[in-house]
């Protein structure tokens, strides 16, 4: 019910006195009204701007925030006002809605901001008044389209393939986005070249060439060099067929692919050749065969895969279908009318060209499109008058739908331009966003590194390495830490993770052999080179633990046994380097964040160790430091 109705309700109820003498049954009791009858002025403070209104005004819409008891949540006892921390400009419109019953959409505001405000105040956008509804709808649609484009652009194309895609998927990707791999790009250009060659050949073979010896008439080149042209045609069709079959194989949904426009164009482009092969050189049939050759020209449409502009044009025409339909309809009407009139006007003339109304169609079309070939010309005065009216009206009828089509094309074209620009800038934007995001993760990881997780062990030195954190950060880091403890896993960055993945695929093999045979020697002998390479890398590894930790997996394998003997001290020493105060290292299943083992260890001969069987990762307890890398506690799992 509208706002006004609420105002009139007391009146309607009062008028019900008129029913009382007529009532058949006794009337029900009225609802008890315990809220205060006095209308009061409420103060609504929106970000400092005070709005005042009658309570009744707000009560008109009881299913919104301001009209219901929900606003009590925002009531400030000290200042006796309702405080909202929102945009005061927008609130003006919201309040006007209560006052007048009509919601208006401010044109200069962002549509999403407006929507959010409406959602906050519990007002549905459908009640926007008719005056502003169209504008609102248009802006909303535009916005949604843009967002859809954005998400499409994000999801599409240039993201790297998941590593476990089949060859079929890779092939499809190569076809759809040639920029992804060099092979695809090469293929793309090759097909483009052959399309061009094929089209040019089709054109050139009709050009008259000098006749061969013994002939007088000019021959079209196609007949003179028929073999050459035939070979070229065959080659092109081979390529096209091959491409089509490859696409068909790679397509994720073959039925959908077969129904798509591009594939139909492909088929139409290559069919004539095959039909020509199959058909006999019969005189009767060759007429039809010649017609088929016309379809070869459709190969030019294959260029639309290569050209963005062609696709836009096609899409524009599709989206302007109704305007084109209107143009066609109005032209047809006008043609019929004028043709009829011209025919009857010119009927009396001898030797006239206007032999019938359909014959007059040609004249009308030529005149209305202002072509004016002059092969059919009216002779009578009436004919000339009507002919001039015809040409004037032709200009009008054709000019009317054209701006619509043009504006459609312009809109789609600009959309595409925007999309391309956005895609180009997207990479930079994403990189920046990723940097910002990783800043937060890095903050946590760095914080961990610097031993901040340890409950103020060495609080003095802690202050040195741990940079100042806001209370928000502190709480956030605490939360992340709790999560780590819950799941017994640790956070790391993606670089480390990818290294671990690779290492694990290696380490799996080595450690499996280890677990089976429990011979350390095996592991080293399996991949001594790799270990050595890792070791060299280790020497250069920097403070950031995460970098080094992957190598540690393997080297730890190798030097498991050597941990206890001599490396303990060296390990200790290392801990001092890496972590300013601590000592604790957490082992997790995700990664091993133990400090980088020294460079020299892999080269040492490994003492035979008691076979460490299938190794489990375990999370170490905090504070269990300074070289207590005992075998029992250091367990590395092979996954």
């Amino acid at each position: 019910m509208a706002a006004g109705v609420a105002t009139w309700l007391p009146f309607a109820r009062a008028a019900a006195v008129g029913w009382l003498p007529l009532a058949k049954k006794s009337m029900p009791k009225p609802p008890s009204d315990n809220k205060s009858r006095n209308d009061e002025i409420l103060i609504v403070n929106v970000s400092g701007q005070r709005f005042q209104t009658w309570k009744n005004t707000l009560d008109r819409y009881p299913d919104t925030l301001l009209g219901s008891s929900e606003k009590e949540f925002f009531y400030n006892e000290e200042t006796q006002e309702y405080f909202f921390d929102r945009d005061p400009e927008m609130f003006r419109h919201i309040l006007n809605f209560y006052r007048t019953g009509k919601l208006h959409y401010p044109r200069h505001e962002c549509i999403q901001a407006f929507d959010e405000e409406l959602a906050f105040y519990g007002i549905i956008p459908e009640i926007i008044g008719d005056c502003c509804m169209e504008e609102y709808r248009d802006r909303k649609k535009e916005n949604l389209e843009r967002l859809a484009e954005d998400t499409e652009a994000e999801m599409a194309t240039d993201a790297p393939l998941p590593p476990d895609s089949t060859s079929r998927e890779r092939l499809w990707r190569a076809f759809e986005n040639p920029h992804t791999s060099t092979m695809a790009l090469v293929f793309y250009y090759v097909t483009g070249f052959f399309i061009a060659v094929s089209v040019i050949a089709n054109v050139v073979e009709t050009v008259p060439c000098r006749p061969p010896k013994g002939r007088v008439k000019d021959l079209p080149c196609g007949e003179k060099y028929s073999l050459a042209f035939f070979c070229m045609d065959t080659a092109c069709v081979m390529i096209f067929t091959f491409e089509y079959l490859m696409r068909l194989y790679a397509a994720p949904s073959r039925c959908k692919f077969m129904r798509s426009v591009m594939s139909i164009i492909d088929v139409v482009a290559i069919m004539p050749y095959y039909i020509g092969l199959v058909m006999p050189e019969n005189e009767d049939v060759s007429g039809a065969f010649v017609t088929l050759r016309v379809f070869r020209v459709f190969r030019i449409f294959k260029f639309s895969r290569h050209s963005q502009g062609l696709r836009i044009l096609g899409y524009t025409l599709k989206s302007c279908a109704s305007e084109l339909g209107f143009l066609l309809f109005s032209l047809t009407m006008a043609i019929i009318i004028f043709a009829t009139v011209m025919f009857y006007a010119e009927k009396g003339t001898k030797e006239t060209n206007f032999t019938s109304i359909p014959a007059a169609f040609w004249y009308t079309i030529v005149t209305m499109t202002t072509l004016g070939y002059g092969d059919m010309v009216p002779n009578t005065i009436a004919g000339k008058i009507f002919g001039s009216i015809c040409s004037l009206s032709g200009v009008l009828v054709i000019a009317l739908p054209v701006p619509v089509i043009v504006s459609n094309f312009s809109r789609i074209y600009h959309q595409n331009q925007r999309a391309d620009k956005r895609r180009a800038q997207q990479k930079i934007r994403l990189a920046r966003i990723r940097l910002a995001k990783s800043g937060t993760t890095n903050a946590f990881l760095q914080y961990k590194e610097h031993g901040g997780l340890e409950q103020d062990r060495h609080s003095g030195s802690q202050a040195l390495c741990v940079r100042n954190r806001s209370s928000f950060e502190q709480q956030h880091h605490h939360l992340l830490h709790c999560l780590e403890k819950t799941t017994n896993h640790e956070f790391t960055d993606e670089h480390t993770y990818s290294e671990v993945c690779m290492a694990e695929s290696v380490g799996y093999r080595t450690s499996r052999s280890t677990s089976i045979s429990s011979h350390q020697g095996l592991s080293t002998s399996c991949c001594p080179r790799r270990a050595k390479r890792r070791a060299i890398r280790l020497a250069n590894s920097t403070v950031s633990v995460s970098r080094g930790s992957v190598q540690e997996l393997d080297t730890l394998h190798i030097q498991k046994s050597s941990i206890v003997p001599q490396s303990r001290s060296s390990l200790n020493a290392r801990t001092q380097d890496l972590k300013l105060n601590c000592d604790d290292t957490d082992f997790t299943a995700a990664i091993i964040s133990i400090p980088t083992p020294p460079a020299n260890t892999p080269d040492e001969s490994l003492p035979s160790s008691p076979g460490i069987p299938s190794i489990l990762r375990n999370s170490r307890q905090l504070g269990d430091c300074s070289g207590s890398f005992t075998h029992e506690t250091v367990k590395i799992s092979s996954l």
Binding site: G4, A14, A15, P30, A345, I381, F386
Partner: protein, 230 residues
């Protein structure tokens, strides 16, 4: 023949086009002008301001605050200060979405529009409300009688009552339980007349009406029902 016919036609078309061009130049003024512009002015200047707050307070039994509140609501809905019958019908119909309230709204409108000028001013509105909500039982009964008496001649005839009754049953709409029978209004009117019409003369006068109502306990009790509406 056909040729001359076409030429005549062509010449006719040329003349029409010529006239159209002349009109464009303003040489040939079209015949239909003067009427449309002025009529719009009249409607927009119709506005009404009510009497002063004190006078209204004297005429009605509302307090100042109540009058202020009422006027604010009224002015918000009808900025021109007048309610015409169509608007009144629309507003009243919104409360009875299931049925057709227009006929009853028409009667109600006439009951409020004391001076019968086709629109309700704020004074009429507030005076009517004052009677309904703050008036004595007699005043209320008087008002009800006035409502039923369509031609305001002091007598309620069976036809008038039937019209009122039908309009009330119309407000119920189709979907009722039990279904409204066609003769339900008529029956209701018969019952009403049996009760009210003492001297069986086929009409109910104001005295008969008030007397009968005062004797009926149900009616008297229900008169207090709507006192707390405002």
């Amino acid at each position: 023949m056909g040729i001359q016919g076409m030429e005549l036609f062509a010449v006719g078309v040329v003349i029409i086009l010529f006239v159209a061009v002349l009109k464009q130049f303003g040489i040939l003024e079209p015949m239909s002008m003067e009427d449309s512009s002025d009529s719009d002015l009249e409607l927009s200047t119709v506005r009404h301001q009510p009497e002063g707050l004190d006078q209204l307070q004297a005429q009605t039994k509302f307090t100042k605050k109540e009058l202020q509140s009422l006027y604010r609501g009224f002015k918000n809905e009808c900025p021109s200060g007048l309610v015409d019958e169509e608007t009144f019908k629309t507003i009243y119909s919104q409360f009875f979405p299931q049925g057709d309230a227009t006929t009853y709204a028409h009667f109600l409108f006439n009951a409020f529009d004391i001076d019968r000028n086709g629109s309700i001013r704020f004074e009429d509105f507030v005076i009517g409300l004052s009677v309904l909500l703050r008036g004595t039982v007699n005043e209320k009964l008087n008002w009800a009688f006035n409502l039923y008496d369509i031609n305001k001649d002091g007598y309620i005839t069976k036809e008038e009552m039937l019209a009122i009754m039908k309009s009330i049953y119309d407000m119920m709409g189709r979907y009722t339980y039990p279904i409204v029978r066609d003769d339900a209004p008529f029956e209701h009117v018969e019952k009403f007349f049996q009760k009210m019409d003492r001297n069986r003369d086929g009409v109910v006068t104001i005295d008969e009406f008030i007397e009968t109502c005062q004797k009926d306990e149900n009616i008297m009790n229900s008169m207090q029902l709507f006192e707390n509406v405002i």
